[in-house]
Structures are given as structure tokens and as C-alpha cells.
């Protein structure tokens, strides 16, 4: 018996003339994730992508694990591929389905016959297979209206497929169909989730991290690496720019009013990020901000940070509560990394009483004490680039 994987690409099916391009991006993404698992053939028909291993050692369990992290897949199923022969189907079905039928009590069999030359009709196939399963698993009964599980037998052109559980995919759009954006990542809980959410909408990620040694430690940079590696399992490779930020933070500390430290810093981060983003053909910035979470994320404060950028700033978490963000970060396995206790650039020189309702003109006035343009340029020029690979 050979086991194959059938993939349903949900939302893509609704697209118009771009659909074929989007599907080929998805197929390419799938191929790339699975290339080291053994040889396989991948084919497309209607809204289904089929993966057929052509090598005995193909690790289907691992393939399923990886597919669950590929955006653009609504659902997928594992199926047994057998000869188009009733005896063969009846021989394979009970053994193949045993694990999935063990913990339920009712089922039904649905047959589909795209090959109308097959000697049995669909209802006949259902009856035969249902009978075989009942004989083998006495704890089961048939319930055609509300079965615990549905067993599907599909007779196609070359082979017959037996399958049962449908596994939910990661959803969204294939990464690469939505262009590229730059994620500002500090090392906290929010930014990895924000990046993940936009990767889910098909956007390729670059990441920008601000490092302020000795106020931040090498461990904090390692944490950002580990977070991005985790996000990359979904988004594919991520280009990371690490920006030297010590000088700017010291200048702000020494020359600006304390209650504005954080906002002046945020404005520098946005300016530097925009410059890198434009250079690298990113069409937007992404941040993990959510209204009211901290002083620099009040609506007025966000307005002051936005005032220095001329490109879209995506904040996918803007209306989420912290506990909702945490649930998501646990789902994508970034939470435990995020809570490692290292200072990041956002917690250096935090004012005791930050301004929560800042006025733009005060910020602009405060920044007059600084050589803004040169500070930005030095930081942009000093940024270090590396690629965080999607590895499993």
C-alpha cells in the first residue's frame, strides 16, 4: 500500500485570474519544505494538490507536520492509494483505518466514482466497505446522518483512494503572493505573532532588530534569532537586519526630556526601518503594537510614531488583548522563547512617567537637540544582514 497526501487550498479557489499563479507559488512552497524528506511527485487538479511519494523511505508523518505550517492550505488528508479493484480495497481499508476508527462509535462510508467504468456503483462500494469495517470492528455502528467519522473511498482514473480524517491546514494565502514587508522585532511576545499573521496573508518577511550593547546582551540577539527561526517554519526564510542602536539611545538619554524617551526612540526606529525597507523593496512595516498596551502604544502615541513614516504600517494585533496574543504565541511556539528574561532595546532607559498623550510638536522640538539625519544614516549603514532559514 502506498500513502499519499491530498491538499485542499481553500481561499485560493475563490480567486479569479490570479488563481493559477497563486497555486504555483503554493506548490513551490510545498516542494521546498519537503525536499529533504525523500522523492515524491506533486500534481494539481482542480482545487486539489496531490503528493505521491515515489520512495519507500518518505516520512509521511513529518510531511504532515510540515504541511500544517504551510500557508495557503485549508485542509489536507492522508489517503491509502490502492489498485482499482474491490478485493484490494477491502483488504487494505480495515487495517489502514484501524487507528482512526478505534476511539469512535459511529461512522459512515462515502464513495465517489469519477471513473464510471468501475464495475460497482457508489452506493454498492459504500455498502461493501461499510460491511467489511463492521465485520472487523464490532464496536462500530453505522450512522449516516451524524457519524463520528466519515470514511471516503474515491475511485479515480488510475487508482482508488481510501481516507478518513481531514486535517485542518494553516489557512491563509501562500507566502510570496502578497509582496514583502519588514517586521520590527524586539524579542517580546507580540512582534513574532504580528509577523506570523501577515505571513499568513501571503507576505514575505524581512525583520529589523535594534541592538544596544552593552545595554542589551548577546543573549537578547540570540532570542530574536530563535523567535524568527520559529516564525520561519511558517513564513519561509527571513532576512534579518540588526541595527546598532546604542548611540541613538545614549543621545536620547543625554539630550531629551525623560518622559519622551520612548516615543523619540520609537520614531527613530520607524525612520530607520522605513529606510531599510525601501532599500530592500519592502512595501510596508509591521509592528506588534496594540492600542493601550503600554504608554507608547496609546492612540495618540501611535499617531506620533506614524508621523515620521511614509509607508503603510501594519499592526495586526492592534485590537487584541494580551491574553489573546499569548494564546496565539503559544500556538506558534514562540511564547516560551519570548519570555526569556533578557533586556531588549525597548526596556533600556524607560522613563518613570512616560507621556501617554504626547503632542507632536513637543516631540519635534525634543528631537531638535539631536543630529537626527546623521544618527539615522549611521544606524542604517551599520546594520548587519543575515538570513534566518526555515529549518525543521
Amino acid at each position: 500500500m502506498q500513502e499519499i497526501i491530498l491538499i485542499k487550498n481553500g481561499e485560493l479557489a475563490l480567486k479569479g485570474l490570479n488563481r493559477s499563479t497563486f497555486e504555483s507559488v503554493l506548490v513551490k512552497n510545498i516542494k521546498r519544505r519537503m525536499q529533504d524528506l525523500g522523492s515524491f511527485v506533486i500534481s494539481r487538479s482542480q482545487s486539489t494538490i496531490t503528493i505521491e511519494p515515489t520512495d519507500e523511505g518518505f516520512d509521511t508523518d513529518e510531511a504532515v507536520e510540515r504541511l500544517s505550517k504551510v500557508f495557503g492550505i485549508a485542509a489536507f488528508q492522508r489517503a491509502a492509494a490502492v489498485e482499482k479493484d474491490m478485493d484490494a480495497i477491502l483488504a487494505v481499508a480495515p487495517a489502514y483505518l484501524e487507528a482512526q476508527l478505534a476511539d469512535i462509535s459511529t461512522f459512515k462510508v462515502e464513495a465517489k466514482r469519477s471513473d464510471k467504468k468501475f464495475p460497482l456503483t457508489s452506493p454498492e462500494i459504500s455498502r461493501e466497505v461499510g460491511g467489511a469495517l463492521l465485520g472487523r470492528f464490532p464496536h462500530l455502528t453505522v450512522d449516516v446522518h451524524h457519524p463520528d467519522r466519515v470514511v471516503t473511498v474515491e475511485i479515480r482514473e488510475k487508482k482508488a483512494y481510501i481516507r478518513c480524517d481531514q486535517i485542518k491546514g494553516a489557512g491563509g494565502m501562500p507566502v510570496g503572493t502578497g509582496g514583502k514587508a519588514a517586521l520590527l522585532i524586539s524579542g517580546g511576545i507580540d512582534s513574532p505573532v504580528a509577523g506570523w499573521m501577515l505571513a499568513k496573508r501571503g507576505i514575505v518577511l524581512d525583520a529589523i532588530h535594534f541592538a544596544s550593547p552593552p545595554f542589551t546582551s548577546p543573549q537578547a540577539e540570540m532570542k530574536v534569532h530563535d523567535l524568527l527561526s520559529q516564525v520561519a517554519k511558517y513564513s519561509g526564510d527571513i532576512g534579518l537586519y540588526t541595527v546598532p542602536f546604542t548611540e541613538i539611545q545614549e543621545q536620547i538619554r543625554d539630550n531629551c526630556p525623560e518622559e519622551l524617551f520612548t516615543l523619540v526612540m520609537r520614531r527613530f526606529m520607524m525612520r530607520i526601518s522605513e529606510r531599510i525597507a525601501r532599500r530592500e523593496d519592502c512595501a510596508a512595516l509591521i509592528t506588534g503594537e496594540s492600542v493601550g498596551q503600554v504608554a507608547s502604544q496609546t492612540m495618540l502615541a501611535l499617531g506620533c510614531t506614524d508621523a515620521v513614516v511614509n509607508m503603510p504600517v501594519f499592526r495586526p494585533l492592534i485590537g487584541m488583548d494580551k491574553d489573546e496574543i499569548i494564546i496565539r504565541s503559544r500556538q506558534i511556539d514562540t511564547f516560551d522563547i519570548s519570555i526569556r528574561p533578557y533586556e531588549d532595546c525597548c526596556t533600556v532607559f524607560t522613563p518613570k512617567h512616560p507621556r501617554t498623550r504626547p503632542k507632536l510638536e513637543f516631540l519635534e522640538q525634543a528631537e531638535q537637540a539631536l543630529d537626527v539625519e546623521n544618527l539615522i544614516q549611521r544606524a542604517v549603514d551599520g546594520a548587519r544582514f543575515e538570513i534566518i532559514r526555515c529549518t525543521f
Binding site: 552593552p214 546582551s217 543625554d254 528574561p341 533578557y342 526596556t347
Partner: protein
Amino acid sequence: MECYLDNSATTKPCKAAVAAAVETATDVFGNPSSLHRHGFRALQLLESARAAVAKPLSAESGEIYFTPSGTAANNTAIFGAVQKNRRRGNKIVTTAYEHPSVEKCMARLESEGFTVERLVPDSHGNITAAQFADAIDENTILVSLMAVNNEVGSILPFESVAALIRRKKSPALLHVDAVQGFLKLPIVPKKCGIDLLSVSAHKVHGLKGVGALYMKKGVQIPPYILGGGQENGLCSGTQGMPAIAAFKAAVDACGDVRKNLTHVSSLNARLREKLTAIAGVTVHSPENALPYILNISLEGIPSQVSVNYLSEAGVYASAGSACSKGHRSPVLTAMGLSPAQMDSAIRLSLSRETTEEEIDYCVCALENAAAQLRKKG
């Protein structure tokens, strides 16, 4: 120049220890419990290492039990002692600034219904024998204290506690966590009536992965780790021979404990004197502390920042044993330091290999840190 001043976290293994480990891993690979020639060679090496570790404690080699770490030695001693004495009383006396490998055991015993009294140090970090005398009673089944505090270096009155236990007619066993004191202070457990004493190899220029528990002859506690019955049944698991051989080599190479102490005392005095000249530096270690450890604060600079800065300059210090924000050092808390002082505390820990040049270099780096990391103007 590099200056490693984090010797209380771990030491650089001495050459002899590394050589012994390599040689053992290569040639003496047998299991000491095996009956053939390779096993016997390993057994001979194991027993010679036991004798080597016993020697500086003036103990018999049969009183030394190898464990996988100082932590394992502490766990074995505490849970074993309590298990043995549990019908004779319900109280345990310890201190408020023990290492987590003792404190976490205490917290668990407390949750199981034992009463744990934790003695609190004064603002200099010292705990007196009188405090122990007040706490120990007839119901006390275990007294566990460190010989030397790991963060500030206070030396505890471990030499006089045994007499107090006897005077109070208490059935208590006396356990001393000597991980920071072994080979730095002369410690003779028999002379001070210590029943159980924990040490660790990697704090004395040996390798990670081995510690030892001294258990006085005649004292029998049940094991905490069960298995094949190695170490006379007290700590099962095949002995890690390369690390044990290195432990022996490190102990042999240590030299005279008192002479080393004199050397480190003079370095410590030099360090204290020069540091007091730097504005904003406060020394937390008491005057009478073990000179191997000096805990200080650089006012206004978070510990992690000083550590990062010093690291870049080639000076390796520790941000106390608690590195995390929000988790302040239990030692400094117990000493009643202000939050600002605790958040800027760093620990410099010396070794017998530390030189005057290194001390001067470290002071210079600290001066630069103080000058550069604070707000200007």
C-alpha cells in the same frame, strides 16, 4: 587582556584535570562495577580519587560518595536526612539565603508538612551562632547551612552548630553545603561534628559533571537516587570516570589552602581599596567574608548592563546568581538592600590563579563603565 572573575559560577579547569579526563576517557573506559580488567582499573582510579577528595577534609575515603553534581549532593543529603529522621521531629533549620539546590528542597519539604525555619542575615550578610541556638530545638531533625554564601561570601558559623545541636538535645543531623568553601577555607567536618557535607568539582578547577557528598562514618541516610547501587547505594548511576579523575587531579593540584587564602585576601584588599575610590560603588560583601567573593553595586547601572560592558572589555563577572529582571537576588533581599542597589549588583569572584594585574585591569574597566554608562551632563 582577559580577566575571568566569575569563579564562583565555575572555574577554568586546571591543565592536570583536563589531561586526567582525556586520559581516563581514552584508556580507563571500563565500568568500575565490571569484574574484568578494564573494570578493575576503573575501580582503582575511582578509589584513588575518593581518597584524594577525602584528604583535604581530613576524612576517610569511605566517607566520600561521588554524585553527579553539587546539587545532587545537596538533594541527597537533605531528603535522605529528613527521611531518616522523620519520626523524631518535624522541624528543619536553615537560612534564608541558601543556594536553590537547598532552598527548593526546603520548599518541597515545607509543602509536605515540615516546619522550615529560615534564619535571616543581618545587613552585612552575616548569620550568627546565636541565631542557630535560638532556632534549634528538640523537635529539629535537620540543620542545613552553607559554609560560604555564594553571592556575598559571608562565612557561616558551621563550626559551632554541631555543639548547639548537642546542647539542645536535638536529634538533628547537620548538613553543610560547602560548594563555595571547599579548598578555599580549611574545613574539617569531623572536628566540627558535621554529618553531611556537599562539594563540587567544577568550582575548584575540576570539570562539570561531578560532585561529592561527605557522610560521617556511622551516619546512614537512605538514598535519593535509586538504581544499580553504586557509591555504596547512596548515589546510583555509573560513575562519570573522566570527571572524577579530573576531580582528583584538581584536588591534588590545589596546593596549600591557607597559602591560597592569604594570596586571595591580599587581592581582595587591593580590589576593595581601589573600588571605594570609584564614585557610586558600594561593597555589599561583609568585611569578614571569604575573600574569594566580592559583591558590589555600581549605582544607577543595571547589573546586566555592567556585565555586558565588562564582557566586551574582557572582564567576566556575574550579575549575581539571579540574572532575570523581576527576580531579585534572594541573598541581597535577605540582606535588606534597596531595590536600586539589588538591580545594580554584580559579583566578582576570584581564584587562586587571579593576579594583581588582573585586579587592576578589572578596576580600570569598572571605572570606565561607571564613567560611560551613566547619563552625561
